[in-house]
């Protein structure tokens, strides 16, 4: 009974990916209640009699759909919850060959990437690579869903922002859910580029800044420049922060800071030397 209901809900969810989130989530909660009745909400500990593999597979499908819906609704918290719920299911032998696993994992990787949680990103990646080795599935980078975030990460780290940009714009995006992150990524790489430009260029002409920052018009460039606190003069952009670090006009500020630094430095040297003396005393 409960099983049939579940199937029904799943089919409903699968056939209408465009379902508004509130409706989908109400369906999902119904599904979860059914799962609880089947005692398949979480896989049981090994050795104890638990739910049948079919039920567990159903449970996994429900969570996967939930994850996808929450991503479509741009709800990263709910998505993360679903992913953690899915984790134990993926460890089970019976449910190993599931269809949506790579998609969900890929999305999770992308989420970690956009949130700047690189440590977790790489931990997840390590798990994936051992999994690939064991399954003999070959390179994970070859996978459509998993390869995408991995490539993006590599390019981001390297600094090939244009490739990231192209990857997001082109047909390389594996599925529509991945598009959700494009916006976040765009603003992320834009601010990355901006911060490196501040240090790298003495000045930039407005016209080329447009292409540099992947903006649509010069008006947008000026808005962005103002937002970052850059000064725009005669069609050129000047970076205030770079002026302060290089020998620009606010020399007083830097020399003051230098003096403070020097003082601190000599204090440190004295402290260290006294420390050595004390240690020597104890040794000798």
């Amino acid at each position: 009974m409960a099983e049939r209901n579940l199937q029904q809900i799943l089919n409903q969810l699968r056939s209408n990916p465009g379902l508004p989130y509130p409706e989908a989530s109400s369906l999902l909660s119904k599904a979860k209640i059914q799962l609880l009745q089947l005692k398949a909400a979480t896989p049981s500990a090994p050795g104890t009699p638990g739910a049948s593999p079919q039920h567990l597979a159903l449970a996994r499908d429900v969570y996967e759909q939930g994850a996808l819906f929450s991503i479509r609704a741009r709800n990263p918290d709910a998505f993360t919850r679903y992913v953690s719920q899915l984790q134990p299911f993926y460890e089970l032998p019976a449910t190993a060959g599931s269809g949506e696993r790579n998609k969900v994992t890929g999305l999770y990787l992308l989420l970690l990437l956009t949130q700047g949680r690189y440590a977790e990103f790489h931990s997840e990646l390590e798990t994936l690579s051992t999994r690939a080795k064991e399954g003999g599935a070959g390179e994970i980078e070859g996978d459509r869903f998993l390869g995408y975030p991995i490539k993006l990460e590599r390019w981001l780290m390297e600094g090939s922002y244009d490739r990231v940009w192209k990857a997001m714009k082109s047909r390389e995006v594996p599925s529509e859910e991945y598009g959700v992150f494009s916006e976040i990524l765009t603003s992320q790489i834009r601010s990355e580029i901006a911060s490196s430009s501040e240090r790298a260029y003495p000045s930039l002409p407005l016209s080329s800044t447009k292409s540099l920052l992947f903006l649509d018009s010069e008006g947008a460039v000026i808005d962005f420049a103002r937002h970052r606190g850059w000064t725009v003069r005669d069609g050129n952009i000047y970076f205030p922060t770079s002026a302060a670090t290089v020998d620009g006009e606010p020399v007083n500020v830097t020399s003051d800071a230098d003096a403070g630094d020097d003082k601190e430095f000599s204090r440190m040297v004295i402290e260290n030397t006294l420390g050595y003396a004390r240690e020597l005393e104890t040794i000798v």
Binding site: E120, H122, T127, T130, E134, Y201, V269
Partner: protein, 584 residues
């Protein structure tokens, strides 16, 4: 102060005899862990590299990977080192039995050091163990009437000698024996009284070792399961260091069983609860041995199945005992370094791995561990942007194993992306086996960065197009972004000119004008001081020694006082002065 030195000197000879063994033993065992633990493939590699001259000099420093035919080998090897007249079998038996005395003393004096000493002898025994020898020892140790007869039966079943009767007198031994009298007597004495659990656990460990070396993993795992339950029910504090070993082998057995580690169905996952409970109990009892070894085992198990976040949580929720055995510390540091490397915390990883390689035993026996740790350390160094020293690759014992890494370092050092990718493609299997592959893939950006740095150092001005061509980057735009990022990250000191499309390098400042040399100097001094502190802490002083000293000091003071009194009296005679010096 003066009393201390002579006394500890008096202790030395006894200690020394054991310690010489110990160094070799412990390393032997560890390297065997590494050698086998790393999926057996490394074994071949180790073997090719192990060509140290010292091998023949010490009897127990057999090459790490123990073969199934240990018993045969023993017969060939033995006569060189030992007196030829002693029958090797008897020798082993007496060797095993001599440990019983140590265990007895450990229980009587409640001093774990004796137990540790007994454990150390395992690896020298390990090559010579055969079911016959074990059965004989067991039969001679346990009598039929004793309550632990059932335990002995279990042991015999485990080694497939269930038909050997218990309580056999050590008669055969007495006949052949010419010199080792004391241990034999010991064995007889034990016949009369109850066998202490420590001895039967010690024998169980020997059985475990035997099963492991003869690759009977399934049987070993079952036996270990029974053993760990028994330890649990015995609940004796004097068993602590022994149980640490039991858990160690238990986990090793599970690692070798059917679905091999990377799969989540491996038995190694199933024993985690057991290990975690053991850890909890150990922490509550402040039991350092079990804590250290179980934490290490758990970390190993998590890393084998790539549960990095779980491993990280374990590390953050437990405290590794500070004064754990050196080898456990080395292992722990290695695993910790691995976790941190995966999490991109390279500085910490570097620190831990350096410590791990330094703490690794220097003798050739733990070569597997040293190699694995060094490999990881090299990769982490590269990831940090450092170039490892060339001398590392010249060490004869490492040269061959590190060769792929050497090529890698060369590619990174020159900043040649093409070489780098060729090296990766060529040695992908080696890197995968070493578990460094995913880390090495991250190096790509470092290669690019080094390339840019080289270019910025050699050219005062270079066009982006040239950079793009030399580094084999996709496009000029990519090159521009990459260079800009490098400038922001402080890799190079340069500016970009977008209109004309070139990179202009700035003059490099004098390093000695900055505070960097001072800081490096400070770091080194601190390391030296820490080393001194550690060695002071590592010194062991005999118990109650200070009382003796106090007594000595008091006597000396009394003597002085007497002398002072005499002088005083003499003075009194002369000067007629009255004074009370009693208060002094």
């Amino acid at each position: 102060m003066p009393g201390k030195t002579p006394h500890s000197n008096g202790n030395e000879p006894v200690e020394n005899g054991v310690r010489k063994n110990q160094d070799v033993d412990m390393t032997d065992e560890k390297s065997s862990l590494k050698g086998k633990g790393k999926k057996g493939v490394k074994e071949g590699e180790d073997m090719t590299v192990v060509v140290p001259p010292s091998k023949t000099t010490k009897q127990s420093s057999q090459p790490p990977p123990p073969d199934a035919d240990g018993d045969v080998e023993m017969d060939v090897d033995k006569p060189e080192d030992l007196e030829v007249k002693v029958d090797p079998v008897t020798q082993v038996i007496t060797d095993i039995k001599s440990n019983f005395a140590l265990l007895d003393r450990a229980v009587a004096l409640f001093d774990a050091r004796f137990t540790l000493r007994a454990l150390r002898s395992i690896s020298s025994l390990r090559k010579r163990l055969t079911p016959d020898i074990l059965a004989q020892v067991i039969a001679e140790t346990f009598s039929v009437s004793s309550t632990s007869a059932s335990v002995a039966k279990q042991l015999l079943v485990a080694i497939g000698k269930e038909d050997v009767p218990l309580g056999r007198q050590a008669s055969s031994e007495m006949e052949i024996d010419s010199e080792p009298k004391a241990p034999a007597k010991n064995g007889n004495k034990k016949e009369n009284k109850e066998v202490i659990p420590e001895i039967d656990i010690f024998l169980s460990i020997l059985v475990q070792v035997y099963l492991f070396d003869s690759k009977q993993f399934q049987q070993g795992a079952e036996f270990s399961k029974y053993l760990s339950e028994r330890i649990h029910s015995l609940n004796r504090r004097t068993l602590d260091s022994l149980s640490a070993k039991v858990y160690f082998y238990y986990s090793l057995f599970c690692e070798q069983l059917a679905p091999l580690p990377p799969s989540p169905q491996s038995p190694i996952v199933a024993i985690r609860p057991t290990l975690l409970t053991a850890l909890r109990t150990a922490v509550l009892r402040k039991d350092i041995d079990i804590q250290a070894s179980v934490i290490v085992l758990l970390l190993r198990s998590y890393l084998l199945t790539s549960h990095i976040s779980q491993a990280d949580l374990l590390v953050s929720h437990t405290q590794f005992p500070e004064n754990a055995a050196n080898n456990q510390v080395a292992r722990f540091l290695y695993y910790l370094g691995r976790i941190r490397a995966i999490q991109l915390r390279y500085t910490e990883a570097h620190e831990h791995l350096t410590a791990a390689t330094r703490k690794a035993p220097a003798s050739s026996c733990a070569l597997g561990f040293a190699q694995t740790a060094t490999k990881l350390l090299l990769v982490v160094e590269l990831l940090m942007g450092d170039i490892p020293e060339r001398a590392t690759f010249r060490v004869p014992s490492m040269e061959q194993a590190l060769h792929p890494y050497f090529l890698l370092v060369q590619a990174v050092r020159v900043g040649n992306l093409e070489d780098f990718e060729v090296t990766i493609a060529e040695h992908a299997d080696t890197f995968r086996r070493d578990g460094t592959y995913s880390l090495i893939l991250r190096l790509r950006q470092n290669v690019i960065k080094t390339g840019i740095r080289m270019m910025s150092l050699s050219y005062s001005r270079i066009s982006l197009r040239d950079i793009c061509i030399r580094l084999h980057l996709g496009s000029e735009e990519s090159a521009e972004y990459i260079v800009a990022k490098a400038i922001r990250d402080g890799v190079i000191e340069a500016t970009l000119d977008r209109e004309r499309g070139f990179m202009k390098s700035k003059e490099v400042g004098d390093v000695y004008a900055t505070r960097e040399p001072g800081e490096a100097f400070h770091d080194r001094i601190r390391a030296c001081l820490a080393l001194h502190d550690e060695s002071v802490k590592a010194m062991r002083f005999p118990m109650n020694q200070h009382r003796l000293e106090l007594k000595n000091a008091q006597e000396a003071r009394e003597r002085e006082r007497e002398m002072a009194k005499e002088i005083q009296e003499g003075d009194l005679d002369e000067d007629d002065l009255g004074g009370d010096f009693e208060g002094m």
